[in-house]
Symmetry: D2
Subunit: 250 residues, 4 copies
């Protein structure tokens, strides 16, 4: 079987340089280009790139993707800053190249994506749900974006299923003890030296609890998701938003 | 909305008596009969029973279900001892009463069912998977039936997805240290005073782990699954095997 | 070896009736009296009681203990409502009966006591410490008294050791996300159907974390602490406050 | 306050180079020398070294320590391979330099040391104790040395306290399910991609469990223990074996 010809844009960055190593180590891929700031995109054409891993900046990503799509190269995109306007513009490009696929993923951690998916599925079957996220103490926001998003998805799933509000008989509480309220789901943020990024969804019903926990112990945890995206995007024409669409959860 | 008319067979047993209380407490159900050993099945007809919760013994269950199906009553069955022959016999009864539904569930704990389902779905995305079950020290078998079943389902999912064998560089090991081998999945059984029934599936990949944990802290944990079965079986004609078929995991 | 002759006061209450069973089951003890409201204290004398387990009410406890101490019976006390004035009064009684011992314990759960002790000991060696308590959703206060006390003990140990304030770079936070502040220690309270009483102390330092978790799954968890108190109080004359004083943690 | 003058031997190794960074970052220390293979020990004298951190090899450590002790420099030693004979030889050197202190520690992780200590202290108060260790799948031995040592210490503490054997009603078991037997304590070894080094001690009694968990997420976790050793060894003349002796656990 011939190997997938993969290029990395943003290859000098922290995630980019790990992506370079991950592509090199994948048996079914060949790294054909690794471009940093200032390198010419024409290199992608010369090297016969089939899939581009786009890990640059919001300022560069639109131009890069426009070039890729026009040349029929698929793309897996980790760069952030997507607005409805930008997505519409990308869809216009893709309409002119109907066999090309682009995957944009806000989170390439398979574990984070599975945690959100499972939490959504389980949420309607339990009376109580709370989210705890744990991060290193240098983090500036609390709760994490992933925890907030998880709580929103849980709340939406419960609303759709017609769940009753969560039971909570708290009468006297110290301020903050019961966490932040995200659409009715309590979210607690812990900051601890020694940790990286961790999240726990606790669900409780009559006589039992279900806990889904994701521990991210190293930034390399994004690599399996990026490689999975590369393998799947070649047969997924058009725009796909979110890695969960490439997971087989049947 | 009129309430579902529910009867409990085996109403004096430990699970049966909890089922009686659970049906009584459910706002959308009315308990119309609670039969123990020696009580007449005709009571079910007289009381206008729509759904029977069958929690008796392998010796009684076939006769009870035959009666229910002939009278067009749906059934939710927790009694064990099902063989292919028994299932075939039940299917024959059901063929003559095509609008009647029967749910047989080896495990009514929604958490246990979800844990198995999620473990199966996640298993293909991780290099390593192990199962840990924790129970009270009066348990006679190790590992638990649920843990064995979970490991088998995980192994089957991995085989179907073409996963490589799990990495394990162990060269020198104390006997038993790496657990029992169930179809290639290590399973560890812990026995601890103070516990009831708990199970943890650990999945590990590059830089991250995913843990799905189910804690059963009281036998009442079966009740939400039984009630869910009652509500769903009325619109599921024929035989359904396994509570997972009534969970919306889309 | 002759068995310890033990009586239970408040024997009809929830904890009291469990204490009756626990004393009866203990091989080195003999239950010689089990008194409820209205029963005469003289029964204690007639039955040759050596140790009284006092599980009544704040209204009864002082009279009961006065009687016990005057008759040279040791006491293990779970009744609450102790003030400095009451303790002084009890010390006066004990001064007149110098061989009699009384143990008063706000918490008879050995696990809760060990968790507090270990958390205090470990706290000075870690940059970060947070407390998470998890309880059933019928609980009226948040955080629990045990969690608040644990956080206070941790804060005191850190102050004594001259620890720096905990690192926390949080700039933007949803209200409540970072928990309640108890003397500088963040405390988070989770309320989940299916749980009873649980507490986790998380400590984090460079590249590692230490977690001490106590799960109370049944009210019977107080019994080993009560029995331990009974065995030790007979050789501990005077007033002892707190079960931790009877644990050998050398 | 003047800073402690610290030198690192074995400064080019993986742990050694982290020790160099840790000493440089410590506000109360000054790194005065960082020696690798072939560098002259006289540099230690010239630089006015007060404490040496010895992280070389079993082949070099005796000569290095002999030099240090003769020159009145304290030492903190992470190098392994200690025999009774070697310890005796070191004690002889120290006898001639009665104000010099040497700390030898098989494990500089404060969390690992505290876990062992707490497990020993708690073990006598619970009916059941099991140990679970979790490591990356490249590890050659199972269970880990730390887990084996922890189980031995637990077993010794239980024997000393006269504990009954653990309850275990297992009649039918898959081979390995109940773990390895280390002096009567079941020990389970989990190997999972994504993990580094983790250990959990589970203790169970009537109605409650206590869990002590240590997660080592990065090799830097040894640094706080090394720095603590440096600070304490200057006032601990003679030989100290084990970091636990420098922890205040009163």
């Amino acid at each position: 079987m011939s190997k997938l010809r993969v290029a990395v844009l943003g290859a000098k960055g922290r995630i980019g340089s790990e992506a370079v190593r991950a592509v090199e180590a994948a048996e079914d891929m060949e790294l054909v280009a690794a471009l940093g700031r200032g390198d010419k995109l024409e290199t992608l054409v010369d090297s016969g790139t089939e899939v581009v891993v786009e890990l640059t900046t919001p300022a560069s990503v639109m131009g890069n993707l426009d070039f890729c799509v026009r040349h029929g190269m698929h793309a897996v995109v980790g760069t952030t800053g997507w607005t409805d306007e930008r997505l519409a513009q990308l869809n216009t490009s893709l309409a002119a190249s109907p066999e090309t696929g682009v995957l944009i993923a806000p989170n390439f951690s398979i574990g984070a994506v599975l945690t959100m998916k499972f939490a959504q599925q389980a949420a309607r079957y339990y009376e109580s749900v709370e989210v705890v996220e744990l991060h290193h103490p240098n983090k500036a926001d609390a709760p994490s974006g992933t925890a907030t998003r998880t709580a929103q998805l849980i709340a939406a799933a419960r609303a759709e299923a017609g769940c009753a509000p969560q039971p909570d008989a708290t009468v006297t509480a110290l301020e903050g003890a019961r966490g932040a309220d995200v659409d009715g789901i309590p979210v607690h943020a812990i900051r601890l030296r020694g940790l990286l990024a961790h999240q726990e969804v606790l669900l409780g019903g009559e006589g039992e609890t279900l806990t889904i926990r994701h521990d991210s112990l190293h930034h390399s945890s994004f690599m399996p998701g990026i490689l999975l995206g590369v393998r799947r995007v070649v047969s997924a024409p058009g725009l796909t938003f979110g890695l969960e669409n490439f997971l087989d959860l049947g």
